[in-house]
Amino acid sequence: MFEFLAYPFMQRALIAGTVIGITCALIGVFVILQKMAFFANAIAHSALAGIAIGFFMGLNPMVTAVMFGIIIAVLISYLKSRSILSVDTIIGIFLPSSMALGVLIIGLLEGFRPDLISYLFGNILAVDRFYLYLSVSLGIIVMILLAVFFKKYMFITFDRELASIHGINVAAYDYLFIILLATTVIIGTRVVGIILISALIVIPAASSKNISSNFTQMVVYSVIFGFASSVLGLMSSYFLNLASGATIIMVSGAIFLITLILRPVLAK
Protein backbone atom coordinates (compact mmCIF):
# COMPACT_ATOMS: atom_id res chain seq x y z
CA MET A 1 0.00 0.00 0.00
CA PHE A 2 2.87 2.34 0.80
CA GLU A 3 4.96 1.53 -2.26
CA PHE A 4 4.24 5.03 -3.55
CA LEU A 5 6.58 6.32 -0.87
CA ALA A 6 9.46 4.79 -2.83
CA TYR A 7 9.01 7.39 -5.60
CA PRO A 8 11.25 10.45 -5.04
CA PHE A 9 8.58 12.81 -6.48
CA MET A 10 6.08 11.46 -3.93
CA GLN A 11 8.57 11.83 -1.06
CA ARG A 12 9.18 15.46 -2.05
CA ALA A 13 5.45 16.08 -2.37
CA LEU A 14 4.71 14.58 1.04
CA ILE A 15 7.44 16.52 2.83
CA ALA A 16 6.55 19.82 1.14
CA GLY A 17 2.80 19.21 1.52
CA THR A 18 3.11 18.41 5.21
CA VAL A 19 5.24 21.45 6.00
CA ILE A 20 2.97 23.76 3.99
CA GLY A 21 -0.19 22.19 5.46
CA ILE A 22 1.01 22.69 9.03
CA THR A 23 2.37 26.21 8.44
CA CYS A 24 -0.84 27.35 6.71
CA ALA A 25 -2.97 25.86 9.51
CA LEU A 26 -0.88 27.54 12.22
CA ILE A 27 -0.90 31.00 10.68
CA GLY A 28 -4.54 30.46 9.68
CA VAL A 29 -5.61 30.61 13.35
CA PHE A 30 -4.50 34.25 13.55
CA VAL A 31 -5.78 34.98 10.04
CA ILE A 32 -9.35 33.96 10.80
CA LEU A 33 -9.42 35.51 14.27
CA GLN A 34 -8.12 38.79 12.83
CA LYS A 35 -10.59 38.47 9.94
CA MET A 36 -7.81 38.57 7.33
CA ALA A 37 -9.01 35.82 4.96
CA PHE A 38 -9.62 38.32 2.13
CA PHE A 39 -6.17 39.76 2.75
CA ALA A 40 -4.61 36.29 2.36
CA ASN A 41 -6.57 35.88 -0.87
CA ALA A 42 -5.18 39.17 -2.22
CA ILE A 43 -1.61 38.07 -1.50
CA ALA A 44 -2.25 34.74 -3.23
CA HIS A 45 -3.51 36.50 -6.35
CA SER A 46 -0.49 38.81 -6.37
CA ALA A 47 1.59 35.65 -6.82
CA LEU A 48 0.62 35.54 -10.50
CA ALA A 49 2.41 38.84 -11.16
CA GLY A 50 5.38 37.70 -9.05
CA ILE A 51 5.65 34.43 -10.98
CA ALA A 52 5.28 36.22 -14.32
CA ILE A 53 8.05 38.68 -13.34
CA GLY A 54 10.28 35.68 -12.52
CA PHE A 55 9.69 34.12 -15.95
CA PHE A 56 10.10 37.46 -17.69
CA MET A 57 13.39 38.28 -15.98
CA GLY A 58 14.73 34.73 -16.13
CA LEU A 59 14.75 34.38 -12.34
CA ASN A 60 13.28 31.63 -10.16
CA PRO A 61 9.51 32.39 -10.22
CA MET A 62 8.94 31.20 -6.61
CA VAL A 63 11.55 33.61 -5.29
CA THR A 64 10.17 36.58 -7.24
CA ALA A 65 6.62 35.60 -6.21
CA VAL A 66 7.56 35.59 -2.52
CA MET A 67 9.26 38.99 -2.89
CA PHE A 68 6.35 40.48 -4.84
CA GLY A 69 3.80 39.01 -2.41
CA ILE A 70 5.61 40.59 0.56
CA ILE A 71 5.70 43.99 -1.22
CA ILE A 72 1.97 43.85 -1.94
CA ALA A 73 1.16 42.74 1.63
CA VAL A 74 3.25 45.54 3.15
CA LEU A 75 1.68 48.10 0.78
CA ILE A 76 -1.86 47.02 1.69
CA SER A 77 -0.99 47.18 5.38
CA TYR A 78 0.63 50.58 5.06
CA LEU A 79 -2.34 52.02 3.17
CA LYS A 80 -4.73 50.44 5.68
CA SER A 81 -3.17 52.51 8.46
CA ARG A 82 -2.83 55.73 6.41
CA SER A 83 -5.79 55.82 4.04
CA ILE A 84 -9.39 56.85 4.59
CA LEU A 85 -10.42 53.79 2.57
CA SER A 86 -11.57 50.60 4.30
CA VAL A 87 -9.31 47.55 4.15
CA ASP A 88 -11.66 45.58 1.87
CA THR A 89 -11.66 48.49 -0.60
CA ILE A 90 -7.86 48.62 -0.56
CA ILE A 91 -7.67 44.85 -1.10
CA GLY A 92 -10.33 45.19 -3.80
CA ILE A 93 -7.95 47.52 -5.63
CA PHE A 94 -4.76 45.50 -5.17
CA LEU A 95 -6.15 42.02 -5.87
CA PRO A 96 -7.35 42.63 -9.45
CA SER A 97 -4.57 45.11 -10.21
CA SER A 98 -1.80 42.65 -9.36
CA MET A 99 -3.66 39.91 -11.26
CA ALA A 100 -3.94 42.24 -14.26
CA LEU A 101 -0.23 43.03 -14.05
CA GLY A 102 0.48 39.28 -14.06
CA VAL A 103 -1.71 38.72 -17.14
CA LEU A 104 -0.01 41.62 -18.95
CA ILE A 105 3.48 40.31 -18.24
CA ILE A 106 2.47 36.76 -19.24
CA GLY A 107 1.29 38.26 -22.52
CA LEU A 108 4.80 39.58 -23.07
CA LEU A 109 6.37 36.12 -22.63
CA GLU A 110 7.30 34.27 -25.77
CA GLY A 111 5.54 31.00 -26.60
CA PHE A 112 3.10 28.88 -24.62
CA ARG A 113 4.01 28.38 -20.94
CA PRO A 114 2.18 25.29 -19.64
CA ASP A 115 4.09 25.53 -16.31
CA LEU A 116 2.17 28.74 -15.56
CA ILE A 117 -1.03 26.69 -15.35
CA SER A 118 0.51 24.60 -12.56
CA TYR A 119 0.97 27.80 -10.52
CA LEU A 120 -2.69 28.66 -10.97
CA PHE A 121 -4.00 25.26 -9.87
CA GLY A 122 -0.96 23.84 -8.06
CA ASN A 123 1.02 20.73 -8.85
CA ILE A 124 2.71 19.38 -5.80
CA LEU A 125 3.79 16.21 -7.59
CA ALA A 126 6.00 18.30 -9.86
CA VAL A 127 7.96 20.06 -7.13
CA ASP A 128 11.70 20.06 -7.62
CA ARG A 129 14.48 19.88 -5.08
CA PHE A 130 14.88 23.68 -5.01
CA TYR A 131 11.23 24.22 -4.14
CA LEU A 132 11.42 21.49 -1.51
CA TYR A 133 14.35 23.19 0.25
CA LEU A 134 12.75 26.63 -0.16
CA SER A 135 9.35 25.58 1.20
CA VAL A 136 10.72 23.52 4.09
CA SER A 137 13.20 26.19 5.20
CA LEU A 138 10.71 29.08 4.89
CA GLY A 139 7.95 27.00 6.49
CA ILE A 140 10.17 26.15 9.46
CA ILE A 141 11.24 29.81 9.87
CA VAL A 142 7.57 30.90 9.87
CA MET A 143 6.65 28.22 12.44
CA ILE A 144 9.57 29.11 14.73
CA LEU A 145 8.78 32.84 14.63
CA LEU A 146 5.08 32.21 15.29
CA ALA A 147 5.99 29.94 18.21
CA VAL A 148 8.44 32.46 19.69
CA PHE A 149 5.96 35.33 19.47
CA PHE A 150 2.89 33.18 20.07
CA LYS A 151 1.68 34.93 23.24
CA LYS A 152 2.30 38.37 21.79
CA TYR A 153 0.24 37.54 18.70
CA MET A 154 -2.46 36.02 20.90
CA PHE A 155 -2.52 39.25 22.96
CA ILE A 156 -2.58 41.50 19.85
CA THR A 157 -5.31 39.38 18.24
CA PHE A 158 -7.53 39.55 21.31
CA ASP A 159 -6.90 43.11 22.52
CA ARG A 160 -4.65 45.37 20.43
CA GLU A 161 -5.15 48.40 22.66
CA LEU A 162 -4.06 46.71 25.88
CA ALA A 163 -1.20 44.94 24.08
CA SER A 164 0.04 48.39 23.08
CA ILE A 165 -0.30 49.69 26.66
CA HIS A 166 1.73 46.69 27.83
CA GLY A 167 4.64 47.87 25.73
CA ILE A 168 4.15 45.60 22.70
CA ASN A 169 5.05 47.40 19.46
CA VAL A 170 1.83 46.35 17.73
CA ALA A 171 2.63 47.98 14.38
CA ALA A 172 6.01 46.20 14.15
CA TYR A 173 4.47 42.83 15.01
CA ASP A 174 1.72 43.47 12.44
CA TYR A 175 4.30 44.01 9.71
CA LEU A 176 6.21 40.90 10.74
CA PHE A 177 2.97 38.92 10.68
CA ILE A 178 2.00 39.98 7.19
CA ILE A 179 5.50 39.15 5.93
CA LEU A 180 5.14 35.67 7.46
CA LEU A 181 1.66 35.37 5.98
CA ALA A 182 2.78 36.49 2.51
CA THR A 183 5.65 34.00 2.60
CA THR A 184 3.37 31.15 3.68
CA VAL A 185 0.69 31.96 1.12
CA ILE A 186 3.13 32.22 -1.80
CA ILE A 187 5.05 29.02 -1.06
CA GLY A 188 1.68 27.32 -0.56
CA THR A 189 0.55 28.25 -4.07
CA ARG A 190 2.82 25.49 -5.42
CA VAL A 191 0.79 22.92 -3.46
CA VAL A 192 -2.80 23.87 -4.22
CA GLY A 193 -2.44 26.82 -6.61
CA ILE A 194 -3.14 30.53 -6.45
CA ILE A 195 -6.88 30.00 -6.60
CA LEU A 196 -7.16 27.50 -3.73
CA ILE A 197 -4.39 28.53 -1.32
CA SER A 198 -6.56 30.71 0.90
CA ALA A 199 -8.66 27.60 1.60
CA LEU A 200 -5.59 25.84 3.02
CA ILE A 201 -5.12 28.81 5.37
CA VAL A 202 -8.74 29.28 6.38
CA ILE A 203 -10.39 25.83 6.49
CA PRO A 204 -8.23 24.00 9.10
CA ALA A 205 -8.43 26.99 11.48
CA ALA A 206 -12.18 27.38 10.89
CA SER A 207 -12.73 23.63 11.51
CA SER A 208 -10.73 23.93 14.69
CA LYS A 209 -12.69 26.96 15.87
CA ASN A 210 -15.87 24.90 15.51
CA ILE A 211 -14.84 22.52 18.27
CA SER A 212 -12.33 24.40 20.45
CA SER A 213 -13.07 25.60 23.94
CA ASN A 214 -9.82 27.52 24.37
CA PHE A 215 -7.10 29.14 22.30
CA THR A 216 -4.46 26.45 22.80
CA GLN A 217 -6.92 23.80 21.61
CA MET A 218 -7.69 25.87 18.54
CA VAL A 219 -4.02 25.98 17.57
CA VAL A 220 -3.42 22.28 18.21
CA TYR A 221 -6.55 21.10 16.32
CA SER A 222 -5.83 23.45 13.43
CA VAL A 223 -2.31 22.05 13.01
CA ILE A 224 -3.65 18.46 13.18
CA PHE A 225 -6.31 19.24 10.57
CA GLY A 226 -3.77 20.96 8.30
CA PHE A 227 -1.43 17.98 8.55
CA ALA A 228 -4.25 15.46 8.01
CA SER A 229 -5.63 17.37 5.00
CA SER A 230 -2.23 17.41 3.28
CA VAL A 231 -1.33 13.77 3.93
CA LEU A 232 -4.78 12.24 3.35
CA GLY A 233 -5.40 14.53 0.36
CA LEU A 234 -2.11 13.61 -1.25
CA MET A 235 -2.60 9.88 -0.68
CA SER A 236 -6.18 10.00 -1.97
CA SER A 237 -5.11 11.89 -5.06
CA TYR A 238 -2.46 9.22 -5.75
CA PHE A 239 -4.77 6.23 -5.33
CA LEU A 240 -7.81 7.80 -7.02
CA ASN A 241 -5.76 9.52 -9.73
CA LEU A 242 -7.18 12.95 -8.93
CA ALA A 243 -5.70 16.46 -8.98
CA SER A 244 -3.60 16.67 -5.79
CA GLY A 245 -4.31 20.30 -4.81
CA ALA A 246 -8.05 20.00 -5.26
CA THR A 247 -8.12 16.70 -3.34
CA ILE A 248 -6.25 18.26 -0.38
CA ILE A 249 -8.84 21.05 -0.25
CA MET A 250 -11.74 18.57 -0.53
CA VAL A 251 -10.35 16.57 2.43
CA SER A 252 -10.00 19.80 4.37
CA GLY A 253 -13.61 20.69 3.47
CA ALA A 254 -14.78 17.26 4.66
CA ILE A 255 -13.03 17.79 8.01
CA PHE A 256 -14.78 21.16 8.31
CA LEU A 257 -18.15 19.50 7.68
CA ILE A 258 -17.48 16.86 10.35
CA THR A 259 -16.49 19.50 12.93
CA LEU A 260 -19.56 21.53 12.05
CA ILE A 261 -21.78 18.51 12.74
CA LEU A 262 -19.88 17.68 15.94
CA ARG A 263 -19.86 21.28 17.16
CA PRO A 264 -22.89 20.99 19.46
CA VAL A 265 -21.29 17.99 21.18
CA LEU A 266 -17.65 19.05 21.32
CA ALA A 267 -17.69 22.84 21.76
CA LYS A 268 -18.35 23.82 25.35
Binding site: M154, F158, D159, L162, S164, I165, H166, G167, S213, N214
Partner: protein, 266 residues
Protein backbone atom coordinates in the same frame (compact mmCIF):
# COMPACT_ATOMS: atom_id res chain seq x y z
CA UNK B 1 13.67 65.91 47.12
CA UNK B 2 9.90 65.36 46.96
CA UNK B 3 8.58 61.84 46.31
CA UNK B 4 7.33 61.54 42.72
CA UNK B 5 3.64 62.00 42.09
CA UNK B 6 1.60 58.99 41.00
CA UNK B 7 0.42 60.97 37.98
CA UNK B 8 1.82 64.30 36.89
CA UNK B 9 0.33 66.03 33.86
CA UNK B 10 1.76 69.31 32.66
CA UNK B 11 0.26 71.43 29.85
CA UNK B 12 -1.29 68.46 28.05
CA UNK B 13 -3.06 69.20 24.77
CA UNK B 14 -4.59 66.77 22.29
CA UNK B 15 -5.63 67.53 18.72
CA UNK B 16 -7.30 64.80 16.68
CA UNK B 17 -8.28 65.20 13.02
CA UNK B 18 -7.56 68.92 13.22
CA UNK B 19 -9.91 69.34 16.19
CA UNK B 20 -8.60 70.42 19.59
CA UNK B 21 -9.96 67.92 22.12
CA UNK B 22 -7.99 68.91 25.21
CA UNK B 23 -6.15 72.12 25.93
CA UNK B 24 -3.49 72.97 28.51
CA UNK B 25 -4.45 70.36 31.09
CA UNK B 26 -2.27 70.46 34.19
CA UNK B 27 -2.75 68.52 37.42
CA UNK B 28 -1.08 65.93 39.60
CA UNK B 29 -2.25 63.06 41.78
CA UNK B 30 -0.51 61.74 44.89
CA UNK B 31 0.35 58.09 45.47
CA UNK B 32 -2.69 56.20 46.78
CA UNK B 33 -5.19 58.86 45.71
CA UNK B 34 -8.58 58.05 44.22
CA UNK B 35 -9.08 60.48 41.33
CA UNK B 36 -12.48 60.77 39.69
CA UNK B 37 -12.67 62.57 36.35
CA UNK B 38 -16.05 64.12 35.57
CA UNK B 39 -17.43 66.15 32.70
CA UNK B 40 -20.18 66.10 30.09
CA UNK B 41 -20.15 63.90 26.98
CA UNK B 42 -17.43 64.99 24.57
CA UNK B 43 -15.49 66.83 27.26
CA UNK B 44 -12.33 64.80 26.59
CA UNK B 45 -12.36 62.46 29.60
CA UNK B 46 -11.60 59.29 27.61
CA UNK B 47 -9.09 61.19 25.44
CA UNK B 48 -7.28 62.30 28.60
CA UNK B 49 -6.81 58.69 29.76
CA UNK B 50 -5.87 57.55 26.25
CA UNK B 51 -3.27 60.32 26.03
CA UNK B 52 -1.80 59.26 29.37
CA UNK B 53 -1.64 55.66 28.14
CA UNK B 54 -0.01 56.70 24.86
CA UNK B 55 -2.96 55.58 22.75
CA UNK B 56 -3.48 59.00 21.17
CA UNK B 57 -0.80 61.56 20.25
CA UNK B 58 -0.48 64.50 22.61
CA UNK B 59 1.76 67.42 23.49
CA UNK B 60 2.89 68.38 26.97
CA UNK B 61 4.49 66.34 29.70
CA UNK B 62 3.05 63.26 31.35
CA UNK B 63 4.84 61.24 33.98
CA UNK B 64 3.73 58.30 36.07
CA UNK B 65 5.61 57.71 39.31
CA UNK B 66 8.32 60.02 38.01
CA UNK B 67 8.81 58.13 34.74
CA UNK B 68 7.80 59.49 31.31
CA UNK B 69 4.52 57.92 30.29
CA UNK B 70 5.57 56.24 27.08
CA UNK B 71 4.79 52.64 26.22
CA UNK B 72 8.05 51.30 27.58
CA UNK B 73 7.83 53.44 30.69
CA UNK B 74 4.33 52.22 31.46
CA UNK B 75 5.20 48.54 31.20
CA UNK B 76 3.81 46.64 34.17
CA UNK B 77 3.06 49.83 36.07
CA UNK B 78 -0.45 50.58 34.88
CA UNK B 79 -3.72 48.72 34.62
CA UNK B 80 -6.54 49.78 32.33
CA UNK B 81 -10.23 48.96 32.10
CA UNK B 82 -11.73 50.38 28.90
CA UNK B 83 -15.16 51.95 28.54
CA UNK B 84 -16.35 49.46 25.97
CA UNK B 85 -14.52 46.25 25.35
CA UNK B 86 -15.65 45.08 21.95
CA UNK B 87 -14.48 41.66 20.89
CA UNK B 88 -15.62 38.71 18.83
CA UNK B 89 -17.70 36.63 21.24
CA UNK B 90 -16.92 33.50 19.22
CA UNK B 91 -13.20 33.97 19.96
CA UNK B 92 -12.22 30.68 21.65
CA UNK B 93 -10.33 32.06 24.63
CA UNK B 94 -10.94 31.30 28.28
CA UNK B 95 -10.98 33.77 31.15
CA UNK B 96 -7.75 32.21 32.41
CA UNK B 97 -6.06 32.68 29.00
CA UNK B 98 -7.23 36.31 28.83
CA UNK B 99 -5.46 36.99 32.12
CA UNK B 100 -2.41 34.91 31.25
CA UNK B 101 -1.57 36.82 28.06
CA UNK B 102 -1.67 40.09 30.01
CA UNK B 103 0.60 38.81 32.81
CA UNK B 104 4.14 40.13 32.66
CA UNK B 105 7.24 38.03 32.09
CA UNK B 106 8.34 38.61 35.68
CA UNK B 107 6.07 35.77 36.73
CA UNK B 108 7.71 32.94 34.81
CA UNK B 109 6.66 29.80 36.63
CA UNK B 110 3.39 28.37 35.30
CA UNK B 111 2.23 27.44 38.82
CA UNK B 112 2.78 30.97 40.11
CA UNK B 113 0.99 32.42 37.07
CA UNK B 114 -1.92 30.08 37.74
CA UNK B 115 -2.01 31.06 41.40
CA UNK B 116 -1.97 34.78 40.55
CA UNK B 117 -4.79 34.30 38.05
CA UNK B 118 -6.83 32.36 40.62
CA UNK B 119 -6.16 35.01 43.25
CA UNK B 120 -7.26 38.04 41.18
CA UNK B 121 -10.29 36.19 39.85
CA UNK B 122 -11.17 35.42 43.48
CA UNK B 123 -10.88 39.11 44.35
CA UNK B 124 -13.52 40.01 41.76
CA UNK B 125 -15.73 37.02 42.57
CA UNK B 126 -15.00 35.16 39.32
CA UNK B 127 -12.89 32.26 40.61
CA UNK B 128 -15.34 29.68 39.27
CA UNK B 129 -15.17 31.08 35.76
CA UNK B 130 -11.46 30.59 35.00
CA UNK B 131 -12.08 27.91 32.37
CA UNK B 132 -15.17 29.45 30.80
CA UNK B 133 -14.94 31.03 27.37
CA UNK B 134 -15.04 34.79 27.87
CA UNK B 135 -17.58 35.14 25.06
CA UNK B 136 -20.15 33.15 27.06
CA UNK B 137 -20.11 35.57 30.02
CA UNK B 138 -22.58 38.38 30.69
CA UNK B 139 -21.58 42.05 30.37
CA UNK B 140 -21.17 42.45 34.13
CA UNK B 141 -19.06 39.29 34.40
CA UNK B 142 -16.81 40.43 31.54
CA UNK B 143 -16.38 43.76 33.32
CA UNK B 144 -15.20 41.91 36.43
CA UNK B 145 -12.76 39.85 34.36
CA UNK B 146 -11.38 43.07 32.87
CA UNK B 147 -10.89 44.47 36.37
CA UNK B 148 -9.10 41.25 37.38
CA UNK B 149 -6.91 41.60 34.29
CA UNK B 150 -6.15 45.23 35.15
CA UNK B 151 -4.89 44.32 38.64
CA UNK B 152 -3.23 41.00 37.72
CA UNK B 153 0.21 42.57 37.20
CA UNK B 154 -0.06 44.34 40.57
CA UNK B 155 0.14 47.76 38.93
CA UNK B 156 0.79 50.96 40.86
CA UNK B 157 -2.00 52.85 39.13
CA UNK B 158 -5.20 51.70 37.42
CA UNK B 159 -7.26 53.71 34.95
CA UNK B 160 -10.97 52.98 34.69
CA UNK B 161 -12.91 54.49 31.81
CA UNK B 162 -16.54 54.50 32.94
CA UNK B 163 -16.31 50.94 34.20
CA UNK B 164 -19.87 50.84 35.46
CA UNK B 165 -21.78 51.40 32.24
CA UNK B 166 -24.48 48.72 32.21
CA UNK B 167 -23.78 47.55 35.77
CA UNK B 168 -26.71 47.46 38.25
CA UNK B 169 -26.72 49.35 41.59
CA UNK B 170 -25.66 46.26 43.55
CA UNK B 171 -22.77 45.67 41.14
CA UNK B 172 -21.86 49.35 41.30
CA UNK B 173 -21.58 49.26 45.08
CA UNK B 174 -19.50 46.08 45.14
CA UNK B 175 -17.24 47.57 42.47
CA UNK B 176 -16.48 50.65 44.55
CA UNK B 177 -15.94 48.52 47.64
CA UNK B 178 -13.53 46.31 45.69
CA UNK B 179 -11.60 49.32 44.43
CA UNK B 180 -11.50 50.86 47.89
CA UNK B 181 -10.13 47.60 49.35
CA UNK B 182 -7.51 47.28 46.63
CA UNK B 183 -6.53 50.88 47.07
CA UNK B 184 -6.02 50.42 50.79
CA UNK B 185 -4.40 46.97 50.67
CA UNK B 186 -2.01 47.67 47.80
CA UNK B 187 -1.66 51.45 48.09
CA UNK B 188 -3.06 51.54 44.61
CA UNK B 189 -3.65 54.87 42.87
CA UNK B 190 -6.93 54.94 40.98
CA UNK B 191 -8.04 57.24 38.17
CA UNK B 192 -11.65 56.73 37.20
CA UNK B 193 -13.98 58.41 34.72
CA UNK B 194 -17.55 58.64 35.90
CA UNK B 195 -20.77 60.11 34.64
CA UNK B 196 -22.24 59.84 38.11
CA UNK B 197 -21.32 62.97 40.04
CA UNK B 198 -22.99 61.52 43.14
CA UNK B 199 -20.19 58.97 43.72
CA UNK B 200 -17.54 61.65 43.91
CA UNK B 201 -18.09 62.65 47.54
CA UNK B 202 -18.23 59.04 48.64
CA UNK B 203 -14.99 57.80 47.15
CA UNK B 204 -12.81 60.49 45.57
CA UNK B 205 -9.76 62.08 47.15
CA UNK B 206 -9.37 64.32 44.10
CA UNK B 207 -11.76 65.40 41.38
CA UNK B 208 -10.95 66.70 37.92
CA UNK B 209 -13.87 68.48 36.21
CA UNK B 210 -13.16 68.64 32.50
CA UNK B 211 -14.74 70.34 29.56
CA UNK B 212 -11.91 70.29 27.01
CA UNK B 213 -10.04 72.52 29.48
CA UNK B 214 -9.56 71.83 33.17
CA UNK B 215 -12.59 73.51 34.74
CA UNK B 216 -11.63 72.66 38.30
CA UNK B 217 -9.30 70.33 40.13
CA UNK B 218 -9.02 69.58 43.81
CA UNK B 219 -10.88 67.93 46.66
CA UNK B 220 -14.56 67.06 46.10
CA UNK B 221 -15.57 69.81 48.51
CA UNK B 222 -13.70 72.43 46.51
CA UNK B 223 -14.67 71.21 43.06
CA UNK B 224 -18.34 70.33 43.50
CA UNK B 225 -19.72 73.81 43.71
CA UNK B 226 -22.42 75.14 41.43
CA UNK B 227 -20.09 77.63 39.76
CA UNK B 228 -17.71 74.87 38.65
CA UNK B 229 -20.50 72.52 37.62
CA UNK B 230 -22.05 75.22 35.47
CA UNK B 231 -18.69 75.79 33.83
CA UNK B 232 -18.34 72.10 33.12
CA UNK B 233 -21.91 71.13 32.29
CA UNK B 234 -23.45 74.45 31.26
CA UNK B 235 -25.99 76.85 32.76
CA UNK B 236 -28.84 75.24 34.64
CA UNK B 237 -26.75 72.52 36.19
CA UNK B 238 -27.47 72.50 39.89
CA UNK B 239 -26.85 70.25 42.85
CA UNK B 240 -30.20 69.14 44.15
CA UNK B 241 -31.25 67.24 47.21
CA UNK B 242 -32.50 63.74 46.45
CA UNK B 243 -36.23 63.20 46.60
CA UNK B 244 -35.69 60.31 49.03
CA UNK B 245 -33.85 62.54 51.49
CA UNK B 246 -36.65 65.06 51.55
CA UNK B 247 -39.72 62.83 51.40
CA UNK B 248 -38.93 59.42 52.86
CA UNK B 249 -39.03 58.88 56.62
CA UNK B 250 -35.58 58.10 58.02
CA UNK B 251 -36.47 54.45 58.79
CA UNK B 252 -37.55 53.77 55.20
CA UNK B 253 -34.29 54.87 53.63
CA UNK B 254 -32.27 52.12 51.99
CA UNK B 255 -28.51 51.97 52.38
CA UNK B 256 -28.22 53.34 48.83
CA UNK B 257 -30.49 56.26 49.74
CA UNK B 258 -28.50 56.96 52.90
CA UNK B 259 -25.26 57.03 50.95
CA UNK B 260 -26.73 59.36 48.36
CA UNK B 261 -28.22 61.60 51.06
CA UNK B 262 -24.84 61.90 52.72
CA UNK B 263 -23.69 63.71 49.61
CA UNK B 264 -23.50 67.44 49.94
CA UNK B 265 -24.42 67.17 53.62
CA UNK B 266 -28.06 66.20 53.11
Amino acid sequence: MDAPKALDINDLSVTLGGKRILQNITFSVDVGDFLIIIGPNGSGKTTLIKAVLGLVPSSGKISIFGKPANRVGLKGMVGYVPQKFEFDRTFPITVSEVLDIALGKELREPLKRKQRIGSVLGQVGMADYAHKKIGTLSGGQIQRVLIARAIANQPKIVFFDEPLAGVDIKGEKSFYELIRNLKEAQKLTVALISHDVTVVNLYADKVAALNRIMVAFGSPKDVLITQNMEKAYGQGFGIFKHKECLEKPQEELTQQDIERCKLFGE
